[in-house]
């Protein structure tokens, strides 16, 4: 999945979780051109995705640069790196 697709997925999950329409959510505050997010919620969503994948994909070191979790785009980048690592380690 591309970063854009992962960002889309995160926004969908966020909207579902907050009980909002995606379009309403996207009217919210932006930061550096991406939806502004809260880090603890992003950790929870990544954990939700890990459950779907069926294994722990996120490590604490992925959260070291907490600034990345302040936007949907930054979180999508963290997620992509974690998924790529998973594939690398599995092969």
């Amino acid at each position: 999945m591309s970063i854009e697709e992962l960002e889309d997925l995160l926004v969908d999950l966020m909207a579902e979780r907050l009980g909002m329409e995606r379009s309403d959510l996207l009217k919210g505050p932006m930061l550096d051109g991406s939806l502004r997010t809260r880090s603890i919620l992003m950790v929870a969503l990544m954990n939700q995705i890990a459950k779907i994948v069926g294994c722990d994909i996120i490590r604490s070191s992925d959260l070291d640069d907490a600034k990345r979790l302040r936007t949907a785009r930054g979180t999508a980048e963290v997620l992509k790196e974690a998924l790529e690592r998973l594939v690398r380690e599995a092969s």
Binding site: L18, G19, P29, R38, S39, I40, L41, V43, A44, N47, I58, R59, S60, S61, L63, D64, D65, A66, R70
Partner: protein
């Protein structure tokens, strides 16, 4: 000891505390008492911290100190507001069973999810560098004990007993006596003299149907943390009120040392910050 002028909202309380402490030559005062008379709206729909005020504060402080955490991040170490949905009416023993169970389950789910995330959160750099934990983590899982769940169950029990004894009509007339609950955030065996946890204790007092919250900080960093701390504490108070059906009372912070952090940009920077926020007309 200095008592800050008692104000209605979180925004004003933070500003008033910072202004008071900033006037000291060293920018520090011992035993400062900050009181917010109305930290949470009676209908529990919101806390009295303005979104615009918070955004401006973030903009100014993070512009000057990009390494600091935004207000939301600081606040969510005390109560993870973004993991909880508020769209339920407050708990009441006479709530329709399905609604009551759904509300109670919401709290249980919050605790369970946070505990699941805790190992990851504790080891993340921001917490590793501090004291390997979060305040909410200590509230819901201190060596397996959930302090917050106990507060809620004690308060629900109290509410149920009183209602069955006096019935609703006599509720206010009879009063409720008092109930005080305390939560520890710093271990008695903790020998660290510097660094966190700065928040050491939280008291909840139930007086005349209102739930008042008192928090004790060892050292209160007024620029870097205090506003986020007030938002987090108010949301914690709001949560306990929603889960027990009591009205919110006042929020008081007693700080051992309140620090305007003159070492972070100097006194002039604090003055500019306060002046900018006042000029925006976002506080009294």
């Amino acid at each position: 000891m200095k008592a800050v002028k008692v104000v209605e909202t979180i925004d004003d309380a933070w500003l008033a505390t910072l202004e008071l402490v900033d006037r000291e030559p060293e920018g520090q005062l011992v035993h400062v008492v900050t009181t917010v008379r109305r930290p949470v709206a009676d209908d529990l729909q919101c806390i009295t911290g303005g979104r615009e005020f918070q955004d401006q504060l973030d903009k100014q402080l993070l512009g000057r100190h990009p390494e600091w955490q935004p207000v939301d991040t600081v606040a969510e170490t005390i109560f993870p507001d973004s993991l909880y949905r508020w769209d339920y009416q407050a708990w009441h023993p006479d709530l329709e069973l399905g609604e009551r169970l759904a509300l109670e389950q919401r709290a249980e789910e919050l605790f369970a999810e946070y505990k699941l995330l805790l190992p990851l959160i504790r080891r993340a750099k921001a917490n590793r560098d501090r004291w390997h934990g979060t305040y909410f983590g200590r509230l819901v899982d201190w060596d397996g004990y959930n302090q917050l769940a106990y507060w809620i169950s004690a308060l629900r029990k109290k509410r149920t007993q009183r209602i069955s004894s006096f019935k609703e009509v006599n509720f206010a007339l009879a009063g409720e006596g008092e109930l005080a609950l305390g939560g520890q955030l710093r271990a008695a065996t903790d020998r660290s003299n510097m660094g966190g946890p700065c928040l050491v204790h939280i008291d909840l007092s139930l007086v005349e149907s209102r739930l008042h919250l008192l928090a004790n900080y060892r050292h209160w960093f007024l620029q870097e943390r205090a506003y986020g701390n007030l938002v987090g504490l108010a949301n914690l108070q709001r949560f306990v009120c929603q889960q027990t059906g009591y009205l919110p009372g006042e929020l008081v912070v007693v700080s051992g040392v309140a620090n305007a952090q003159h070492d972070k940009g100097g006194r002039r920077a604090v003055g500019r910050l306060v002046e900018n926020l006042r000029q925006l007309g976002l506080a009294e």
